[in-house]
Each structure stands twice: as structure tokens, then as C-alpha cells.
Subunit: 244 residues, 2 copies
């Protein structure tokens, strides 16, 4: 991991861009921390870090005020990262189905999501390998993320993650329901009730499938990007409760 | 309204029992309030105030610490209040259906719930008439209640209620879905995901039916009485946000 830039935000947060091999990322740490800070992985939606930066940095500032470090990396196929064979085709098939008002088939969902999960989960684990030895980071790790299947797989395979906030806003391959049963860490699931691009019943079924004894579902009105401030605050309190 | 007893709890809360006609009730006010306190109606589950007192007083203490007055009255048919013709029959029919593992019919649910709603809603309105002129009470009114159909009807007919916390833990007559569409105040709905005596799908359908632009559903693991402390705290913050 190489740090490539560094700036202070309002004297409260130290923001450092880094590269992990070819993957760009950002680390935010509380500027005034006297002890190592627990880390929250902020997994972005697949829109590119540049486009989602305003939302991510707002969450990073909140987390820093609560004493947390946060980090994000660019997802495979997002931003300037190369696409893989089949990704363009899957997106075109999805667009076509949605414009035609047809149900999105399991084949399209699998082609869209499963390669993304397979590629990105080892990258988040590599990011953890690189971030956790830093002296300013210590304690349990939380995850807060945009593509629910990535968070589900990570929660199964990565024992260093202690609690996760998941966002029911992306298509879920059938295979993920089986993986969900293997999740045991505390979960906080956000669902936008009127999310036009999301299958509400699939989100409720996935919530039901998670094996965690402690799981909570917070559903709010509005579309994909309309998560109310109060819901974001509650998700932050969930992580604070489990990582401190 | 006649106050019948008065005691201080930990110097923080003034607890006064009262009667409103033949209905017993309890009013809790912050002992140190310098200004009139907004009121939260704590509508109990239909088990009798004596049995639910420990839960109610815990919520009253929390609310008082946040600067709220709280009040409750005995539901019709609960505690020492007389039952009405048909109530015993409806309960016996319910028990028989549940013990036989049969679905609870609309007829049983209507006989069980609709008379309770018809009788109790005017009583809560009479309680408001009696409580709001008290000098220690002022500002917007919230509702937090155990029988969701009572809260739904009250939210429709009582303009003095500004926000409501509802608990999806009791059977819902079909007719209430139509009333739910007429509700416009902010709602916070608690759902225990594994509530053995509750129809989860009916609760989700009711959440969907409420006409309120601002509504939030918080689902948690566990049975009827297993609402986690964090979920209670969030409901309290919802009311504080809307009543202050």
C-alpha cells in the first residue's frame, strides 16, 4: 500500500489517498486520535469513487467524530478500473429488461453480481491486510457497504469483520441466500421501501435468511438514494455499539 | 380527572395515579421541569396496567429524562375494567384456533379488535381533553402504543397527535388497512420478526398501507416481548425528533 496524497479536513480528519497494487483507495482517520481507532470499511456502490466521494466523505467525517477510522477502495469495473468480459453484456441485458418492463432474470443477475463479488471480496481482504498493521488503526472492524452481496460474502469468509451495515439496494443472486444463512455477525440492514431498482420482497427474504442472531431491518420511505439522515445516524450508532 | 395518589421516583419523575370517570390512569411528569412538557400517550398492551407497569414506568422514566410527560389509561376490558358481551367468546375462539394450529379467521380478529378500538379511542381522546389543560403539560402530543389498530384509528381521528410509535404485535382487522391509508402523521413501526402471535406479512402490508410520507419500519429478531433496548431507544429518539 502506497499513500499518494494527504490532506486535513477541518483539522478533524486526516484524508489519505492510497493505491493497493492497481486499486485506488482512501483512508480517513480522526486527526486528534490518541489511541488506535477501530476501522469501518466503507464499501461504495459500483459508481466509482469520484462520483460517490461526497457521500463517502460525509460518512467518514461522522465516523471520525465518533472515533472511527474509515477506508474505501474502488470496486473492480468502477471508476478507471478495467471491466471484465461479460460485464458490458450483463449491464446491457439489464438495461434492456428494465426498459422493457420485464422481470430481471436470474441469469442476468448472476452475470452482473457474481463476478463482482468474486473479484472484490479478496480485494477488501487485501485492504484489511494492508490497513490493520498501521499504528493508527486497531480494534474490531466494521463494514458498511453498498452492494449487499459483497457484504454478505465478506461477512461469511472474513472473521476480522465484527459487525456490518448492509444496504438492500442491488440485485441479489439466488446463490447469495444460501451464503446469507452462514452469516453470524450482527447485521443492520437498510431498505428503501420504494427503491425503484430493487426487489423489496427479495430484500425481505434475504433479511429472513441471514443466520445472525442479532439482525435489524430499518425500512424507510423513498427511492434508492433517499436514505434519511436519521437512518444514517442509526446505522452509525449500530456500528459504534458493536465496535467499542 | 381526579388524582388519587402521588409519589416521586428517584427525585426525577412525579408519578400520579388518577381516575377519569371509571378509568384508572397514571401520569408521569419530569420532577424538575421548568416549562410545560410535551406529552406522550403510552397506550398499554391489553394485559392490565398492573401487569405492564414495570415496562410502562421504564419508558416513562426514559421519556422524563428527555423532558417529556407521559400518561397511560387502562384499556376497556383490561385490569378490573368490565368486559363487554362477545369479548370472552372472541378470546376463546382465538385460543381454540391457535391451539389447533388453524389460521385465525377475519371474523375472530374483527370480534376481538374492532370493539376494543371503538371503545378505547374516545377514551384516549377524553384523556387528552383532561391532560392538556394541566399547566405542566404543553406542546405537541405523541403516541406510543401496544395495540396497533387503536393507534391507527387515533392517528386518523385525533389531530392533536403529531407522531406515533406503533407496535406490530396484534391482529389487524381487514378494515384497518383502509383506515391506515388515511394516516398522514410521521410513524415509527416496531416489528418483532419472530413474534409467534403476529402475522408478519400482515404487519408488512399494514406498513405499506399507511398514507404517511414519513414512516419507518424497524424489525428486530425475537418474540413478542423481546424488543431490544436499542430499538426502544430509537423509538424514543423518533418521538423526540418530532415533538421538540
Amino acid at each position: 500500500m502506497h499513500f499518494t496524497s494527504e490532506q486535513r479536513l477541518d483539522d478533524a480528519v486526516l484524508e489519505r489517498e492510497f493505491t493497493l497494487g492497481e486499486i485506488p483507495g482512501i483512508l480517513w482517520t480522526p486527526a486528534s486520535a490518541s489511541a488506535p481507532a477501530p476501522l469501518i470499511l466503507l464499501s461504495p456502490p459500483p459508481l466509482g469513487l469520484r462520483k460517490t466521494y461526497p457521500r463517502l466523505v460525509a460518512r467518514a467525517r461522522h465516523a471520525a467524530a465518533d472515533g472511527f477510522a474509515t477506508a474505501t477502495i474502488e470496486l473492480p469495473g468502477s471508476g478507471d478500473r478495467p471491466h471484465w468480459p461479460g460485464a458490458e453484456q450483463a449491464r446491457a441485458d439489464l438495461r434492456r429488461a428494465m426498459e422493457a418492463g420485464e422481470p430481471v432474470s436470474d441469469e442476468i443477475i448472476d452475470a452482473l453480481i457474481l463476478p463482482l463479488v468474486d473479484k472484490s471480496v479478496p480485494e477488501w481482504q487485501a485492504a484489511l491486510d494492508a490497513l490493520l498493521p498501521l499504528p493508527e488503526i486497531g480494534g474490531p472492524v466494521g463494514y458498511s457497504g453498498g452492494v449487499i452481496s459483497i457484504g454478505t460474502r465478506l461477512a461469511v469468509v472474513e472473521p476480522r469483520i465484527s459487525a456490518a451495515v448492509l444496504f438492500a439496494g442491488s440485485f441479489v443472486p439466488r446463490a447469495m441466500f444460501e451464503e446469507a444463512r452462514q452469516v453470524t455477525i450482527p447485521l443492520h440492514l437498510l431498505l428503501q421501501w420504494d427503491d425503484e431498482g430493487n426487489d423489496r420482497q427479495a430484500a425481505l427474504d434475504l433479511f429472513d435468511a441471514f443466520g445472525s442472531k442479532e439482525k435489524t431491518l430499518h425500512a424507510n420511505m423513498g427511492g434508492h438514494t433517499g436514505v434519511p439522515q436519521s437512518a444514517g445516524d442509526e446505522a452509525g450508532r449500530f456500528l459504534a455499539r458493536h465496535l467499542k
